[in-house]
Amino acid sequence: MDNIRALIVDDSSVMRKIVERSLRQAGLSLSQVLEAGNGAEALAAVQANKVDLILCDINMPVMDGLEFVKALAGVENAKGVPVVMITTEGSEGHVVQALSAGERGYIRKPFTSDQVKEHVLPVLAGK
């Protein structure tokens, strides 16, 4: 998969770098990587840029990941863009909440690069 424009949303800069590295290790050719530290920054990023894939934490300050996914529904640029949540909040309730908010995949921290590959590639292929 080539020239993927990815948006990585996490309040931890370390985690954003790990996610980017994991995407590259998964074989994705990333033409652009945008980063955001919370949902509000991410919303601004997708309003200003076209992206192909969003990876998003849930538990963040200012605007959390679930609020962001709900808000994303109103952004023309983001129509059909798959969102994969990467979070410590791996409970069934959070999965149900996230599904109803329209996301496409769910990875629980801690994770390996192989797990990122296993979860992200099918989501991109089904786009």
């Binding site: 370390v14 409970s91 801690p110």
Partner: protein, 169 residues
């Protein structure tokens, strides 16, 4: 599409079975270190005296828990260990870790707290986590209404890593 990670089926104990919380905490932190740092922790034998107030454990990361379980999880280690953890997480040399050390410590504590609560039946949905806070320096007193404390000491690259779960009932 929902897919489960291989470590997501490990619901080991219940809120009531608190005698299992220390081993559950050890399992939770070990998974974080194995998956995110490619570095399993060692269990010291014999276990060191608790609390192990060795000098130099000068970085403390904290995550608050609220809901069915209220309290605080802390992860404490030396600056040198924290730098090596950040280095391993990012795949960079320790001298390049810089300010990422604090972020890495906070994220480790966050993952341990999340992994721990997801292993306690009923806590996954019933307990929320705060964003992490990281304190540098060892000369401080933390005052909170603690009813119970669960502590364990593991070794990261031979150096102590102290985990403490303070619970407010």
């Amino acid at each position: 599409m929902i897919m489960n990670n291989s470590n997501s089926n490990a619901t080991l104990t219940t809120v009531a079975g608190r005698e299992c919380w220390v081993p559950t905490l050890q399992l939770a932190v070990n998974e974080v270190f194995e998956l995110m740092l490619a570095c399993p922790l060692e269990t010291p034998a014999p276990p060191p005296a608790i609390p192990p107030l060795e000098e130099g454990l000068d970085i403390t990361a904290m995550v608050g828990l609220a809901g069915m379980l209220c309290g605080m999880l802390t992860v404490r280690c030396s600056s040198k260990s924290a730098t090596h953890m950040a280095s391993r997480m990012l795949g960079i040399e320790p001298d390049k870790a810089g300010a990422e050390v604090w972020d890495a410590m906070g994220e480790i504590c966050n993952m341990v707290a999340g992994n721990f609560k997801n292993k306690i039946s009923g806590l996954g949905d019933g307990c929320m986590l705060s964003v992490p806070t990281v304190i540098t320096g060892g000369d401080y007193n933390l005052h909170s209404p603690v009813n119970e404390e669960y502590r364990t000491v593991l070794l990261f690259e031979g150096q102590p890593l102290v985990l403490s779960l303070e619970v407010h009932n």
